[in-house]
């Protein structure tokens, strides 16, 4: 099998699909040339600074869809600061592994979350540590099997 059962489950039944009309933050990463685009919307409880809701849309292969799906599950209900700590490694681990040449999809999921949070911070004039949004903050494309 190309993908394990967990990946196939998230691919076949992606969670949190769609968009949020009045989102507090939107992030879009990837490009069509490479065959992957992820777009993520977040709704934030601004008093508690918690991600109330999250939705995604993805153009891409099975693992791109599965990684977006599980990433939304992992950050929903979490403090915004914690969502920023979501690493591609954690995404792959939560899925129980991905084929080596598909690991870039998990990096994309991490970047989509960060892009949505950054958009939220920018729109609300919230100061943030720019270091946290640099590519490879979590060690980049770590080999996880």
């Amino acid at each position: 099998m190309l993908y394990n059962e967990k990946v196939m489950d998230h691919f076949r039944n992606p969670r949190n699909v769609g968009e949020i009309e009045d989102a507090d933050g939107v992030g879009e990463v990837g490009n069509a040339k490479c065959g992957d685009i992820m777009k993520m919307w977040i709704k934030v409880d601004k008093e508690k600074m918690i991600i109330e809701d999250v939705k995604f849309m993805t153009f891409g292969c099975g693992s791109a869809i599965a990684t977006s799906s599980i990433a939304t599950e992992m950050i929903k209900g979490q403090p915004v600061e914690k969502a920023l700590e979501l690493s591609n490694k954690a995404v792959v681990e939560a899925l129980g592994g991905l084929p080596a040449y598909k690991l870039h999809c998990s990096v994309l999921a991490e970047e989509a979350v960060k892009a949505a949070v950054k958009d939220f911070y920018d729109k609300n004039g919230i100061e943030y540590d720019k270091e946290k949004f640099k590519p490879g903050f979590h060690g980049g494309e770590e080999e996880v099997s």
């Binding site: 691919f11 879009e28 069509a32 065959g35 849309m57 993805t58 153009f59 891409g60 292969c61 099975g62």
Partner: protein, 396 residues
């Protein structure tokens, strides 16, 4: 769940007659065709019968048929032999097309690294080489022209007869990879002026692991696999008698019913084109008319092929795509790029290849499923959504 097999350009199901013909050679008639005893001689007879049957189907001589392990070996052998001969004569130029199978491209590239000049003829939007491009590319130091009969992804048929005539006039060796064509369209080697031609049995309901290199009488060929004196001292290795017999039976069956099979496959294939072209923002890849009767290839904008293949597979439908994710690299198929598709469109391609076993019911179900899955994948594709909302004028 019922299996609907629409990946016949990848491989085919073996015909029941072929299986029946092969079985005795595994445990009863297991002799080595090179042995002198009765069991060996019996195997020899069956092997030569198979060679004669194949020669008859292709309208050539039995001594022009060399058994190999399949299409890739035949391609490697033909090109390597032609280039070594060219090298000895100081001819170090190869002409091929941009969208050959990797068995041809990677062999040609090996000689390119070793100092050969290579011309990759363009195949244009319709997926067909132009004869005048070949004429312009030919030089005094051209050692070999190698052009496929029909493309494995988009099925487009090349002007082999004209190419062969030009090569013959110029005295240049011409090899043709006919792996997708033999058993599917007429290949008459008296009519076609080719010097070498590659064939693979498992593409026409024969077994895997056996093929043929046709080499016209009077043309030189160098051994590729060294060892014993098998195959007229040109290809060493104990003969795969079961495979060769199976291949002969498969080819006889295919040639006997060629016209009926063609009509059957073409009618169902055209139904796929007609129905699936109704999907908005879709395109047919390669010339619609001048292609193998069993080949369907289309792109659907705004989706990626792998998801489509996996969901079709969940419905029991076996298909393939030229998307990057299905190739194991980050680039989509070189064939789709060679006919001018941009990456984004090539990612959303679907290839369905039919056989004589394909039924109308299977095609109707497939049409329904492709429509459903494309719509589903587009429902959460950001590219498609932006287009639908009018944020962008084009999907891609």
């Amino acid at each position: 769940m019922k299996t609907i097999y629409l990946d016949n350009a990848g491989t085919t199901q073996m015909s029941p007659e072929v299986k029946k013909a092969m079985l005795p050679f595994f445990d009863e008639e297991y002799g080595n065709a090179s042995s002198l005893h009765f069991l060996g001689q019996k195997a020899r007879e069956r092997l030569e019968e198979a060679r004669a049957d194949i020669a008859k189907c292709l309208n050539c001589l039995p001594e022009e048929i060399f058994f190999t392990s399949g299409g890739s070996e035949s391609d490697n052998w033909a090109i390597t032999s032609a280039c070594r001969e060219g090298e000895r004569k100081g001819k170090k130029h190869i002409i091929t097309s941009a969208f050959e199978h990797h068995a041809v491209l990677n062999t040609v590239k090996r000689f390119e690294r070793e100092g050969f000049r290579v011309t990759y003829l363009p195949v244009y939007e319709n997926g067909i080489v132009k004869v005048e491009d070949l004429q312009n590319a030919l030089t005094d130091d051209t050692a070999l022209v190698t052009i496929m009969f029909a493309n494995n992804e988009i099925g487009t048929i090349q002007p082999i007869e004209e190419i062969g005539k030009i090569c013959k006039e110029k005295g240049v060796l011409f090899h043709c990879d006919a792996v997708q064509a033999v058993g599917h369209v007429e290949v008459d080697l008296q009519k076609l002026p080719v010097d070498m031609l590659s064939i693979s049995a498992h593409k026409f309901h024969g077994p895997k692991g056996v093929g043929v290199l046709f080499k016209r009488k009077g043309k030189r060929i160098e051994s590729f696999i060294l060892g014993g004196t098998q195959e007229m001292n040109k290809r060493a290795g104990t003969e795969n008698v079961a495979g060769c017999v199976g291949m002969a039976v498969a080819l006889k069956e295919a040639c006997k019913n060629l016209k009926e099979n063609n009509e059957h496959e073409k009618r169902l294939r055209d139904k796929l084109f007609d129905e699936l072209s109704k999907i908005p923002h879709s395109r047919i890849n390669g010339d619609r008319i001048n292609r193998l009767p069993n080949n369907f290839n289309m792109s659907f904008e705004g989706i990626e092929g792998e998801g489509l293949i996996l969901l079709l597979s969940d419905s029991g439908i076996c298909s393939s795509s030229g998307s990057a994710c299905t190739s194991g690299s980050l680039d989509p198929s070189h064939v789709l790029l060679s006919i001018g598709l941009i990456h984004d469109v090539a990612h959303g391609s679907l290839r369905l290849t039919l056989s004589r076993f394909t039924t109308e019911e299977e095609i109707d179900f497939t049409i329904k499923e492709v429509k459903r899955i494309v719509e589903y994948l587009r429902s959460f594709s950001p590219l498609w959504k932006d287009y639908e909302k009018g944020v962008k004028k084009h999907v891609i």
